[in-house]
């Protein structure tokens, strides 16, 4: 186990800078998720951490050792690849023991390490199979097994669940989380799926265009997104954004609808974005919502509608009898409203 420090790391391909000074502190044993849309640089950052990609500027420390120029094998890390990268010509047991074999560990000792790891992952009966004889979920487990056997300082996961079907993804999510709980190894996990990030992380790093947008605990990001990007990226369905300005102690949308302001919001001038999570909008109130689509999911009802000239999504706990075209009155929980500057996207309300 070790801490990981990323200090103002930059990456350029030729003259094009793709990573503009990223700094992240990862404590020992922490489970950190790098999340962001594709092309945001999260995988590149992970690969720089692994030593597969050169660092143009800045420093990466594993423990208190600068690893910038160390080759991957000297960094004491293990990585689970998106396509698992299992050696097709080796059995499950050989795949898992490959790194130990390279180190010259005796066959007996390899077996002693592989067997318990296989048992943890439920692979004990598959040790003699070849990767192509395994299902996606099993391959995923072998890839993790290979990492566990190494007993590294840091685990790196590069979108490990993106090749699995939705149901398996949920199961594996729990398994990975469980595994981390058991082994307490520092983990850096890359995903573009914000739900994975929310459910698994101790700390989330939201990245966008080669920059860190916000770092924090999952609910911290959910409750206090630092800017419009994080606000829109975290949460599903996404936060509703209504453009407008403050007039006379209330928020007036571009469509002329007056909306309640969060307590303590100072009457700033200029264009603002009014952010309300779908569940902050509740039935019963005085704001008219024209229903466009209703999506009953059983436990709750998702409603897409027009509110003050903007399309919004609401999640109601109640079942709704009204259909498309009808108007229902809703209220917005002012305490849960976020205000952002429309120009800079920065959060204004506290």
């Amino acid at each position: 186990m070790a801490s990981v420090t990323i200090r103002d790391v930059r990456k350029s391909y030729g003259a094009v800078e793709v990573m503009h000074g990223v700094s992240v502190d990862i404590d020992e044993g922490e489970f950190v998720v790098l999340v962001g849309p594709s092309g945001c640089g999260k995988s590149t950052l992970l690969r720089m951490l692994a030593g597969l990609e050169h660092i143009t500027a800045g420093q990466i420390l594993i423990g208190d050792k600068v690893v910038n120029d160390l080759p991957p094998k000297e960094r004491d890390i293990a990585m689970v690849f998106q396509n698992y990268a299992l050696y097709p010509h080796l059995t499950v047991a050989e795949n898992m023991g490959f790194s130990l074999k390279l180190k010259g560990v005796s066959r007996h000792e390899i077996e002693q390490k592989v067997t318990p790891a296989a048992e943890i992952l439920g692979l004990a009966h598959l040790l003699d199979r070849y990767p192509r004889q395994l299902s996606g979920g099993q391959r995923q487990r072998v890839a993790m097994g290979r990492a566990i056997v190494r007993d590294p300082q840091v685990f790196l996961f590069d979108e490990p669940l993106s090749n699995l079907d939705a149901k398996l993804r949920v199961t594996m999510r729990t398994e990975i989380k469980n595994l981390h709980h058991r082994l307490q190894t520092t983990t850096v996990y890359v995903t573009h799926d914000q739900i994975e990030a929310m459910t698994m992380a101790d700390k989330i790093v939201v990245m966008h265009d080669g920059r860190v947008e916000q770092i924090g605990a999952p609910l911290e990001l959910y409750d206090r997104p630092a800017n419009l990007f994080v606000a829109g990226f975290i949460g599903s369905p996404a936060m509703n954004m209504i453009a407008g300005r403050i007039e006379g102690g209330a928020f007036v949308s571009e469509g002329g609808q007056r909306l309640p302001l969060p307590p303590g919001a100072h009457a700033g001038s200029g264009k603002l974005i009014y952010g309300a999570r779908p569940e902050a909008i509740t039935l019963g109130g005085d704001i008219p919502l024209t229903i466009l689509v209703t999506e009953p999911t059983g436990a709750e009802t998702h409603v897409v509608g027009q509110l003050g000239g903007t399309q919004v999504t609401c999640v109601f706990r109640e079942r709704l009898t009204a259909g498309p075209g009808e108007i229902v009155n809703v209220a917005i929980d002012a305490a849960a409203v976020h205000l952002f500057d429309a120009e800079s996207g920065v959060r204004l309300s506290n």
């Binding site: 030593g51 094998k73 990585m79 097709p88 010509h89 004889q133």
Partner: protein, 308 residues
């Protein structure tokens, strides 16, 4: 009323509407082609080997007499030796150099596509043309190699490349290797590109040195392609004819006669069609052995098989 014969569909209609009949029809052109240009010549060749046919005289069946005759013929056995020597050395060299070239081309090089195209040139040039170029390179007086070595003071007189049995053998092997490398290199390059980059990265993280990554990951994953490519390469080399015929015609003193060139020499200029055919037929066991070795020894890998 009984069925009226007129209402039965015609034979052609019935064939055209039946799945098997239609399949047979579609197969027919290819089958005719193969029968005429592959099976018939092969069968005729095998038959000729059992006769004493000469040019201008239909032969009679003489059983294994041709083979008995060849068995006592030192020139035939020399050609067998030459062929095996030529094939073994040339194949090993083509494999080694081809693999090395493929590995080089698989890296990120500037103007990668240009180099890949250039590599193919020896393969694209007609064999006779490249053989003529080598003939000039190996010329006993005007050889550029001899000229260079003399300029550098390494030798005092031109090397008689094609005049001495052993230099002639090595010279034709060199020409064959030059011609055969592109096929091996490009095929292996294609094979290398099917190996995901992440496997190499995983191995690097697992602690493998570059050499270990090559021997423990790249090479095992490449073996199926190597097996196919080298089978073809061995077959091409074993049956080589053009290069030898242009460069040495089997000389000096039969030192570079391969079975293919000897077969032609005896059959056409020599007029002994039966004997020539017998020499050609004698190549078949060697070729079959090569194919079977490749099939059973190299291509069947457990990790590639479908079910468990």
């Amino acid at each position: 009323m009984p069925d009226q014969p007129a209402s039965r569909p015609s034979l052609w209609r019935r064939i055209a509407e039946s799945r098997n009949g239609l399949g047979f029809l579609f197969m027919l052109p290819a089958a005719v082609f193969l029968l005429c240009f592959l099976t018939y010549p092969l069968g005729l060749g095998v038959w000729l080997g059992f006769t004493d046919t000469r040019i201008g005289r239909p032969g009679e069946f003489i059983g294994l007499e041709n083979y008995q005759w060849l068995n006592d013929d030192p020139v035939f056995w020399l050609s067998v030796f030459n062929t095996l020597f030529y094939t073994t050395i040339a194949s090993v060299l083509k494999f080694g150099l081809g693999l090395w070239l493929a590995l080089l081309l698989n890296r990120h090089l500037p103007a990668k596509n240009f180099f890949r195209a250039i590599i193919l040139l020896p393969w694209v040039v007609p064999t006779v043309l490249s053989a003529l170029a080598f003939w000039w390179i190996f010329d006993s007086q005007f050889s550029i190699i001899s000229w260079l070595l003399m300029k550098w003071g390494l030798i005092s007189q031109p090397i008689n490349f094609l005049g001495d049995p052993w230099t002639a053998r090595w010279s034709v092997i060199a020409a064959n290797v030059w011609r055969g490398i592109p096929f091996v290199a490009i095929s292996l390059l294609a094979g290398l590109q099917t190996i995901p980059q992440s496997l190499n990265e995983a191995a690097a993280i697992d602690g493998a040195t570059p050499w270990q990554r090559f021997t423990k990951v790249t090479l095992p994953l490449l073996t199926p392609i190597i097996a196919v490519v080298m089978t073809f390469s061995v077959l091409f080399t074993f049956t080589d004819f053009q290069l030898i015929y242009v460069l040495t015609r089997g000389g000096p003193v039969n030192a570079t006669h391969l079975m293919a060139t000897l077969s032609f020499q005896r059959a056409i200029p020599g007029g002994q069609l039966g004997e020539g055919a017998a020499i050609a037929v004698a190549m078949i066991p060697f070729l079959l052995a090569a194919i079977l070795f490749s099939f059973f020894g190299l291509q069947r890998r457990k990790w590639q098989q479908g079910a468990d």
